[in-house]
């Protein structure tokens, strides 16, 4: 029972240490972003020089680097670099401006619905209660709560700039498939991200990632992969025009370095935070079986429900925000540590996946005996004060 453990929750409550850690991490993020920027600029210039080589024999047959550079059109490298920087930094800035609205704004962007103050739906009611319980345990404010109605798999996410404007989103699948203890574990994990100051870093990471990804996405847009109205034959002919494919494919290939950089950024910054949030969740709830059960159900979901498809809703730049975002990706490019490893650390042993069928949906009917708020006097019961 919770009363027993002595100093556990306090480790979560000490913010000074976390702040120093967060500063180190954001320095690392800045350095990694600069490196990614350099990579993208180099790739763009390299590709542009290759294109010029195709057209201009003077450049193609240059004997040395110096000759090659001299044969290029005036301000060639300068223009390429400036345009790329403008794109990447502008993209990052735009995304940062969009995220300035805080956790609630992002939640709405992802199509989440706020949980009402007094929900009639039992799982949502439990979620609201759990949020209050955790706030008491951590002695910190309750974040805004959202439900992702469109998401059928088990997932959750925390976003925002600080504990005051934080939002925690829980998927409908999580509400339907998890028991109360498991839901508490998942919520505590997300709340731990809020308490550890991870969410602010994650928001900036999302901005950086969307900047670095911009060249790749421009190429994708050129190919028309994302916006084909396949019903309309004319649009289809346009969409699959070979020139478009050539141009788009080239730009995508150039942007690939940005894509890899974005994945590395997300992996490097956020993966270790997951283990810390798991540990903090167990300390907060004092119950390893809750979070452990949720992780085991995730593993089942990974194996049974979607093989291969990325298991997180919303765009890629937010991949690192989710409770689970495993796909068939290579280990060191993944934003999250493998589930088996997380289960082993949380439960102290290996555990098999746990089937997660949707539990019976329970509504809370209008109560025949209304729950009284604390300040009302009890009914006809003897008052022990005498």
């Amino acid at each position: 029972m919770p009363g027993a453990a002595g100093t556990g929750a306090r480790a979560v409550l000490r913010f000074a240490a976390h702040e120093a850690q967060a500063r180190r991490r954001s320095r690392r993020l800045t350095a990694a972003f600069a490196a990614a920027l350099l990579g993208v600029v180099t790739a763009v210039n390299g590709a542009a020089i290759l294109v010029v080589m195709l057209v201009s024999p003077a450049v193609r047959w240059a004997d040395s680097w110096a000759d090659l550079l001299a044969a290029l059109p005036p301000f060639f490298i300068f223009t390429n670099t400036a345009v790329t920087l403008l794109l990447v930094l502008g993209g990052a800035w735009l995304e940062a401006a969009r995220l300035r609205g805080g956790g609630a704004a992002l939640a709405r962007e992802l199509g989440a619905r706020p949980v009402s103050a007094d929900p009639a739906h039992l799982p949502e009611r439990q979620l609201r209660h759990i949020a209050t319980e955790m706030a008491i345990a951590a002695r910190q404010p309750i974040p805004q709560l959202f439900v992702l109605d469109a998401e059928e798999s088990i997932n959750a996410c925390a976003a925002g700039h600080d504990a005051r404007d934080a939002a925690v989103m829980i998927s409908r699948g999580a509400l339907e498939r998890l028991t109360r203890d498991e839901l508490q574990g998942v919520y505590a994990h997300e709340y731990a991200h809020v308490l550890n100051g991870d969410i602010e870093l994650n928001m900036r990471l999302a901005a950086c990632v969307s900047g670095v990804l911009i060249v790749h996405q421009y190429g994708r847009w050129l190919t028309g992969l994302d916006h084909v109205g396949l019903d309309d034959p004319r649009a289809r002919a346009m969409a699959f025009h070979p020139l478009r494919w050539l141009a788009g494919g080239t730009v995508m290939a150039v942007g690939a370095i940005g894509w890899v950089a974005a994945r590395l950024l997300q992996a490097g910054v956020s993966r270790e935070r997951e283990h810390l949030a798991d540990a903090a969740a167990v300390r907060l709830t004092r119950l390893a079986e809750g979070l452990g059960g949720a992780l085991r159900k995730l593993r089942w979901q990974e194996q049974e429900l979607h093989r291969g498809t990325p298991g997180f809703p919303g765009p890629r730049r937010f991949a690192h925000l989710w409770f689970s975002s495993t796909g068939g990706w290579h280990r060191w490019l993944s934003t999250h540590p493998p589930l088996t490893e997380r289960i082993r650390r949380v439960m102290g042993r290996d555990a098999r996946p746990l089937p997660a069928p949707a539990l019976a949906v329970r509504e809370v009917a209008p109560a025949t005996a209304p729950v009284r708020e604390p300040d009302l006097a009890p009914l006809e019961f003897t008052d022990g004060a005498r």
Binding site: I136, A365, A367, R372, E380, D383
Partner: protein
């Protein structure tokens, strides 16, 4: 003023400043402690108000389990009395122990009752019961977490007033260590309690 005098005056001022800051820190910690206790108190009262509703709903389905229900109500009334006493004197050893004990008895009685509820499928399926069970579950969790938070602040406070040289300040202002809440040590005599249905 000679150099020696300046040094002495500076030392005295420094000492006075340290004294004030040490005292203020202890008082702030004691404030946290009282605040943490108030949080438990709010949640306990929530439970006190919940139990009559729960018993009322359960009674409709389990007339034969009257003894179980009466035990719950008796424990509730006892805990209510103890919590009033403890709220008057937070951190007091006797009051805290009495409250811990009464809370333990109540938790046991409630646990027995919820175990009996498992044997009544219609009661378990009752919408009001579903809601009340959830309310009770969250209240029990809140009490547990609030107790933990209280014990943490008691620990912070006790460590602070025990450390040298702050313990001298604590002694000067008669600040005594507080008592954390123990789990389930029944030190309370349960008197006869009138139950009305």
């Amino acid at each position: 003023m000679s150099v020696a005098q300046i040094i002495i005056v500076t030392a005295l001022i420094g000492f006075a400043l340290w004294l004030v800051s040490a005292y203020n820190r202890l008082i702030a910690l004691r404030g946290h402690l009282h605040n943490a206790f108030a949080q438990i108190d709010v949640q306990l009262r929530r439970r006190f108000d919940l139990i009559p509703n729960l018993v009322e709903v359960a009674r409709r389905y389990m007339e034969h389990e009257r003894g179980t229900l009466e035990a719950v109500i008796a424990a509730r009334d006892q805990t209510l009395a103890c919590s009033r006493e403890a709220a008057r004197r937070p951190g007091d050893l006797g009051a805290m122990n009495a409250l811990s004990g009464a809370t333990g008895v109540l938790a046991d009685a409630l646990g027995r009752m919820m175990a009996v509820v498992e044997a009544y499928p219609e009661l378990k399926a009752d919408a009001a019961m579903t809601q009340l069970s959830e309310e009770l579950a969250t209240t029990e969790n809140r009490i547990a977490f609030a107790r933990q938070a209280y014990n943490d602040s008691v620990n912070d406070y006790n460590v602070a007033i025990g450390q040298f040289p702050v313990n001298l300040v604590a002694g000067l202002f008669r600040l005594v260590p507080s008592q954390p809440l123990q789990s389930c040590e029944c030190l309370v005599q349960r008197g006869p309690v009138r139950v009305q249905f």
